[in-house]
């Protein structure tokens, strides 16, 4: 054994007097840090890009079309000779499909979450969770196919008068698509509820159902709200299913059995055609996009407020 402490492998003297090798080292560290910081800042640049482009083009749009007309006109026909620019039909289209989707996804997602977190055995969970994940991994265009060519024909067996394009099938399929988002985030929230709260309920003689509904679910409400908000934003932003299965005719209606265009479907429709850059028609998709973004933001803020309200500290 034994290397003398004195003959260290490093240039100790040099190191401490802080001359060039250390300096070079430090410069390299600084350079790397700056590069990584730049990478982090690109996410901000993307946001600025989104907000900038949408605002710029929408500004161009609103300098030609009055914002009052945009919000109150009941027709949306920018591509017709008699052009009307009322966003309302697109907004109702989005709302109807979203509501249908949520009527499917929230009860199903919540029940699945309760089942998985409170009832299911480990092995069931380990099988079901990846399968549900797969449900959310299916490309949306495949769901569109499914809505148009399976769900609609099946529903037509029940309602012979149902049109080939309708918001109901689109909404139902979007609902199925977002079930995994709702269930997995809610389940995580419920599993985070500490066991002693459950045990308190069991000790009072509550059944599992009573414990789940009266103790676990309310305690996890903050996280469950987050799950619902995630589901809502996915449903509002969903494009391909509605573009394929709900038709692309802007129609002011609240009846899910009718065909109608959503905001997203309209953007697709215009993009598929040949619209000259800089025309009013080109600008409409940005105004619609801005509206979509604001709507999503609105729901997210609402969700954030609710989440705060229900936050529990264990």
């Amino acid at each position: 054994m034994g290397v003398n402490v004195a003959d260290m492998p490093v240039e100790k003297k040099d190191a401490l007097s802080g001359v060039s090798p250390r300096l070079r080292f430090r410069l390299k560290e600084r350079a790397i840090e700056s590069l990584l910081q730049l990478a982090a800042l690109t996410s901000v640049a993307i946001t600025l890009g989104i907000v900038g482009i949408l605002s710029y083009e929408s500004f161009q749009f609103f300098s030609q079309i009055s914002i009052i007309d945009f919000l109150t006109d009941r027709q949306w026909t920018p591509l017709f000779a008699d052009a009307h620019y009322g966003i309302l039909p697109l907004v109702t289209g989005t709302l109807v499909t979203t509501i249908v989707a949520l009527l499917v996804a929230i009860p199903m997602g919540s029940l699945i979450a309760i089942y998985l977190s409170e009832y299911a055995s480990r092995s069931v969970r380990e099988f079901v969770k990846p399968a549900l994940e797969l449900l959310s991994a299916v490309p949306t265009v495949v769901y569109g196919y499914f809505a148009l060519l399976f769900v609609t024909p099946a529903l037509q067996q029940l309602w012979p008068g149902l049109p080939g394009f309708n918001m109901l099938s689109a909404g139902l399929v979007i609902g199925m698509m977002i079930v995994p988002y709702v269930s997995s985030v809610s389940e995580d929230a419920m599993r985070a509820v500490p066991t002693h709260l459950r045990e308190g309920a069991f000790a009072l003689g509550a059944t599992r159902m009573q414990t789940a509904l009266r103790v676990v679910f309310p305690s996890a409400l903050s996280g469950i709200t987050a799950a619902y908000v995630l589901g809502v934003s996915r449903a509002i932003g969903e494009t391909m299913v509605v573009a394929i299965a709900a038709g692309m005719q802007p129609t002011l209606t609240l009846n899910p059995l009718e065909p109608a265009a959503t905001m997203t479907a309209y953007i697709v429709q215009v993009s598929l055609g040949d619209v000259p850059h800089g025309s009013v028609a080109y600008q409409t998709i940005f105004a619609t996009g801005l509206m979509l973004l604001l709507l999503t933001l609105l729901f997210n803020i609402a969700g954030h407020v609710l989440k705060k309200r229900y936050r529990q500290v264990y």
Partner: protein
């Protein structure tokens, strides 16, 4: 039975019914997946053939194929990965290992969380205005890849941060105590030890990008491309070629969308066949992600 026993029995029955209901709903959800795959197979399996994989789109459904679509998907994914992975990993490393706790960092974090919730078609609009018309990149592979790259960037950042977070602080301290710099610690320890989680996150993000349709329609995908892009290689030095980046593009989901939105049923068969291939791509990617996660978990257990 005494009244109280009756009450208990009733509550137990209700409890069992509730559990049964949960099970049924779960089964229903999984059944939908089965029906969806079954329907796709029923409609499209017979159309899958060598000819289908190697033909260009055509006016005649029986002669049409997906070669430009799958080649396009691979090339677009290449650009997407090249854009999103270095940026995403870099950003995640910065946020986890370097960033000071201040308002600027907080702003970046809030921004990333919000970006993850922006509808994908909005990315398409941004890319149309910015990449296609402002930067004049055209309706090209480059534009498409960058669009999807921006779309999955938040996903890559979030997954990578989670992976990095799993590396316990005492391992970093061990490296620092030996005199390692921050970058040496990151390069030699943090990154290699979180590689499993990072790779998993990247593949899942890419599998999401493979199925994305709407933003690519917005930037101007063509659905009728009867030629292949320039090859990414060439015969003389430097042997790689980037000309393909500026070629017009199409991808699998665009091709499928085109076929499904036509009235003729023969095209729907093509759509189903394309859907099967697309589904297979995403399922394989998800499976690979699961395998990688399991592998790395076995190798490094803290």
């Amino acid at each position: 039975m005494t009244p109280i026993q009756q009450k208990i029995a009733r509550r137990k029955a209700l409890d069992r019914f509730f559990a049964f209901e949960g099970l049924m709903v779960m089964t229903a959800a999984l059944l939908v997946l089965l029906v969806l795959v079954g329907q796709l197979m029923f409609d499209g399996l017979s159309r899958l053939s060598w000819q289908f994989l190697t033909s260009f789109p055509s006016r005649f459904p029986a002669q049409a194929g997906i070669v430009s679509a799958w080649v396009g998907t691979i090339l677009v994914m290449l650009v997407t990965a090249m854009a999103a992975i270095p940026l995403g990993v870099g950003a995640a490393i910065y946020l986890e290992e370097y960033a000071p706790k201040n308002w600027a960092t907080e702003l970046i974090e809030i921004n990333i969380a919000n970006l993850a919730g922006v509808p994908s078609i909005v990315y398409g609009l941004m890319a149309l205005g910015l990449l296609v018309y402002q930067f004049r990149l055209g309706q090209s592979f480059l534009t498409a890849g960058l669009t999807l790259g921006m779309l999955i960037l938040p996903m890559v950042i979030i997954a990578t941060r989670e992976a990095i977070l799993a590396v316990p602080p005492y391992v970093r301290e061990a490296a620092y105590a030996l005199g390692a710099t921050k970058w040496q610690t990151v390069r030699d320890h943090v990154v290699p030890y979180s590689m499993g989680g990072m790779l998993t996150g990247m593949i899942l993000a890419l599998s999401r990008a493979v199925g994305e349709t709407a933003p690519l329609i917005t930037v101007g995908a063509l659905s009728f491309i009867a030629f292949l892009p320039h090859p990414p290689w060439q015969d003389n030095f430097p042997y790689v070629s980037f000309q393909w980046l500026f070629d017009p593009f199409t991808v699998m989901p665009i091709q499928m969308f085109n076929w499904v939105s036509r009235p003729q049923e023969e095209f729907h068969v093509n759509a189903a066949a394309a859907g099967l291939i697309l589904l297979a791509m995403t399922v394989v990617m998800n499976a690979v992600a699961i395998v990688i996660r399991a592998r790395f978990r076995k190798r490094i257990h803290w």
